[in-house]
């Protein structure tokens, strides 16, 4: 390539007038040792990528991404959980010496040390040896951290009742509720509203009353004798009001 004095340029630009030949580099002199990024290496990389993409698309089709009901800041019965990759931090804050007065240990010192050590690993583990067996401390600490992350995640997962959690977040059908009707007044006066909520959509302690599919008699029976977690004798009014109430609830349908 021509350099220095006498070099020709395209117009008054800094682009050399001499074209570089567009010929791929020849790797045949190093058989088996190296290969070109394009196309040799990238082809293998992209084949792996294509297989991965197929799996990925199958996952998205098989499992539609979850969407819970719209956020309701007044619903205090909801059990919040972070995304799975934060569960180990979440679990850590449950332990006595990592929460309460020691919160700073669980929330800052332990994660800070762990992530700080991760970031500064090249400056802590400075020896020239690279094999995992030749640097027992680095390998040991890493294995220990992975084990504790897996353990903490596992602990937090088994502690959750996933079915109940799913029910808490489910999108509930809402009914057009006539709050001036006799039935609703009875519902309110008898304290049903405390558990089943002011739009009868239920909550953490009680199921939704919308679209139950029960007859008025069955509703009246449940109101008096309870069902499931609901104890008997919750309804304390007279029979006339009970009839109004059960009629009201059995006719509720989602809009």
């Amino acid at each position: 390539m021509h350099r220095g004095k006498g070099m020709k340029f395209v117009g008054d630009s800094r682009v050399p007038a001499e074209r570089k030949p567009n010929i791929p580099k020849d790797y045949s002199e190093y058989p088996g040792k190296t290969e070109a990024f394009w196309p040799n290496f990238l082809l293998k990389e992209w084949m792996v990528g294509a297989v991965f993409l197929i799996g990925y698309l199958c996952l998205t089709i098989a499992h539609p991404s979850p969407l819970e009901r719209v956020a309701d800041p007044t619903d205090t019965g909801y059990l919040p959980l972070p995304d799975w990759y934060f569960l180990f931090l979440y679990q850590l804050l449950k332990y006595t010496y990592a929460s309460g007065p020691y919160n700073i240990i669980g929330a800052f010192i332990i994660p800070g040390l762990a992530f700080g050590a991760l970031m500064l690993a090249p400056f802590i583990d400075r020896g020239p040896k690279r094999r995992p067996t030749q640097r027992p401390f680095a390998t040991g600490f890493m294995l220990l951290s992975i084990a504790s992350i897996i353990f903490l995640t596992w602990e937090s997962v088994v502690a959750v009742d996933w079915e109940a959690k799913e029910a808490m977040g489910k999108i509930v059908e809402e009914a057009e509720i006539d709050t001036s009707s006799d039935g609703f007044v009875v519902y309110e006066e008898n304290g049903c509203i405390n558990c089943h909520g002011d739009n009868l959509a239920g909550g953490s302690a009680a199921p939704s009353l919308v679209g139950t599919g029960l007859t008025a008699e069955e509703v009246a029976d449940i109101a008096k004798n309870g069902v499931g977690k609901m104890p008997p004798g919750m309804y304390k009014g007279n029979d006339e009001d009970l009839a109004k109430l059960s009629e009201f609830i059995s006719t509720l349908e989602a809009k």
Binding site: P24, L43, M47, A50
Partner: protein, 166 residues
Amino acid sequence: MSKQPVSRRQFLNYTLTGVGGFMAAGMLMPMVRFAVDPVLKGEAAGDYHPTQQKVSELTETPVRVDFSYEQKDAWYTSEVTSTAWVYKNNKGEIVALSPVCKHLGCTVSWEGNDHKNQFFCPCHNGLYEKSGKNVPGTPPLKPLDVYPTAEKDGLLQLGKPQANNV
């Protein structure tokens, strides 16, 4: 193999392009379909919206009829108000014209600015005949859109404006 480095290389290049194209298609197809969905959804068949105008009271003089209806825009539902100029033509048929000027979308009015027997658009002095036909030499290039009309319980109902063929 090393005797024909070029053809091997070309083969690799074609395969690579193929695999890359497959990946790009797999990724982009759902996304592009997602983006163009409004284009492919097509227009919903126009419903007739009720108005408060009694059909029996319509004359040969255009009257302004305001009406409103519920419009659903994806997750947003709103009450939209619309207007039409309605009259009976000499055959006794009801004609309902959209007041939206075909020039730049301003609102025309009947006999506005003392233009006898014409619709007038104040923005650029556009003029239309009573039939909705644009007057040559004024800015609009097309006649006013016309609403399909229907009658229910003696009241006028209007559909979605269509191109006028007068």
